[in-house]
Symmetry: C3
Subunit: 300 residues, 3 copies
């Protein structure tokens, strides 16, 4: 009985990871009333979240509120959720580049919204809303890269951890400044940071509010590399070239690759194995596989 | 139904991590009779576990049995549990430094007690008792550092892994010598070592009983750095200065930082996110947060 | 109630890890009909899996199908399962070296079998069969090392991750080429790779089908070191010497060491602690422990 129950629990997590789309981590049981929080966020406008057209299976998401270092207003949080839904429904996606407008990444939440939502309940609602969106972003079946120009501060630093990779431009920094605001991460940035750099480094970065420049970020495993250019257009081109190394295959194959890695990261070993086998089943004998087999026969 | 059950299980683990104090990992169901094992441990006396007064939110815990390289007698195990209970109830704590008396760290268990408790049942009881205490120590909502002078051997090596960080003095060593005693770790040192350095390195350190000097420890990620001094007083001052980098904030904020990192380390992603949101709720709109917001308004 | 259920679930996983032998990860509930898949695999013959006699607690497993770069035929999959069962029942085992015949490691599956089993169902059945065997291989209570000469490609690369360690000879390579075949790993290689090198590196290796030479493998933590020789006999001797560092103790102690590390890797912290305590109980007061205690008394 315990075994079959265990399986049913794993099935639930797997379906959340790979089958469902647009499903929040939270619902009424957690005291999360999505419509009410959306109505509240709607009151704090400004800025936008823009998504480019597809180019060879890659799209670019821009955090756009440059007057406030691309801080998230309430409506930007709502727009981010819409863009993520759009990406979940993008059948041919392989890669995603995320950056901030006008040479800086993001400074977290817009303080105007923050001041108006200072109750503990409001704060937790905002966290649940952003955690859901960022978890869905990280689980997207495509390879995502944050291009960090200028500063990624507080919630902006948390946001970078919702991407698979981080590339930094010369002179840029990632800094979990929460402590200096009397806070800790709440958008899931602590949980994801522990997964990326381990709990010891995460504890130092958060409790020290340490400024992480590109060299240190690469050393700690927080970033992949420093891009050559700090110019906005050029660094986006460099990021695209970097990403191209990992997207040269049919979309169904890249998506399956991302899924097996997500399973390996989020699930315990046995559950990850079960998921890997199911994902394998989606490509085995599929068009890309049959074509490769046919070519290997010809070569003989 | 499976989902609500899953949530209830997670709730149990979360409450164990963050709400309960002084609760053992084990109880009668595990064949663990705490009072009986305490009575047994009481028979093997010698040494003490000392806790300093608070100094700027930091206290120092001393393993004190220098005639036996600070090996744990039965009464030291009992005293350690009492000191951990005291630390759990310390409202203003931010940091903890742990070291051994007279220039060495700890050589594990007192062999006199070991010889008198050589049945498998006695051994497992001792493990359950020490695992409970060391797990509560590692989960304390403060930043803990083991200052390793001289030798940390066997159970002493295990003890260092119950701290968030390890700082080593020149010439010191950490060595899991269990194999040479025909043993494996039992105080939780293997499980924690895997979390710190990964399973490959852990397997080498345990199966090779490798001597780990400071340079190697830093290379493997087992220690943070080598302190300049090997003198006892000075190295404690240096450790305090190192720790001060990470404790400059109100206690409630440092405690919340440690809690989100603990959640990220111990829980699967979704559960860690839920915990992070709850912990965020304890500081959002709290005194440190409001003061920081007020200052950022003034600066405008 | 939730707590006792939790315990029962953990008990199930623990017993799977440490008590049961020869039990598959999958059964009829997963649509896995082991006898049917065996009958199918039996049709694709060629090659063999050879196991050497014991030498000081160490045995050598050879993947032997050199005409096809030691690719796995169906009968080799069946023989591997038999050899793993043999190793599970080997009471005095301490170490295992795995290599391929004639200076290369393994190129994955035999394409003849692959072409005849191209339905999604057949593919998943083959994965379930190989995942079960490789999971049992990785959990064996002995220290296992893959000696990579020549090429470990596709399923061959996956196979290396089922060993505790990888040693590479000069000029050799590990390469997850699945993408180029329109595939992803399905023998558990993705899940295990994430555990060894982290999800970021795993995503790059899989989505880029990157060629990993010995230097890069050591840098990424995928391999331990580069052996001096590329000659088959010599490199096996070098691997044996490397392994000897970690097997100098009675078999029961080495086996217990491997078990506590496996528990630390596969289980969440509390469950790993419970397992560690049980494993400790198997050696505490045992012959190797009593002998070491007697010697430490004499030395006094």
């Amino acid at each position: 009985m315990a075994v079959s129950l265990w399986k049913s629990l794993l099935q639930t997590t797997k379906s959340r990871l790979f089958l469902q789309r647009g499903v929040s981590l939270y619902n009424g049981v957690h005291g999360f009333e999505e419509e009410a929080i959306k109505k509240k966020l709607q009151q704090f406008g400004g800025g936008s979240i823009n998504l480019s057209k597809e180019d060879h299976g890659i799209r670019v998401l821009t955090l756009n509120n440059p007057k406030q270092m691309n801080a998230f207003t309430g409506t930007m949080m709502l727009e981010l959720q819409e863009r993520v839904t759009e990406l979940e429904n993008w059948k041919d996606g392989k890669g995603l580049i995320i950056h901030g407008a006008e040479n800086t990444f993001c400074s977290g939440s817009d303080l105007n919204a923050v001041r108006a939502m200072s109750s503990s309940e409001d704060g937790m609602n905002m966290c649940m809303f952003m955690q859901s969106t960022l978890t869905r972003l990280k689980r997207l079946p495509l390879i995502s890269v944050a291009v960090v120009q200028g500063k990624a501060l507080g919630g902006g630093a948390e946001f970078t951890t919702a991407c698979d990779f981080r590339l930094m431009t010369p002179g840029s920094e990632i800094r979990f400044v929460h402590k200096q605001m009397g806070l800790v991460p709440g958008w899931g940035g602590a949980a994801r940071l522990v997964q990326i750099v381990g709990s010891g480094v995460a504890l130092k970065l958060l409790s020290g509010a340490l400024k992480v420049d590109p060299e240190r970020a690469v050393h700690l495993g927080l970033a992949e590399e420093t891009l050559p250019s700090s110019d906005e257009t050029r660094s986006l081109e460099e990021a695209q070239a970097w990403l191209n190394q990992y997207t040269k295959a049919p979309a169904e194959v890249i998506q399956a690759v991302k899924k097996v890695v997500t399973a390996g990261r989020e699930l315990q070993l046995e559950a990850a194995l079960w998921a890997e086998k199911d994902i394998f089943g989606t490509v085995w004998g599929g068009p890309a596989n049959l074509q490769a087999l046919a070519q290997s026969t010809k070569r003989k």
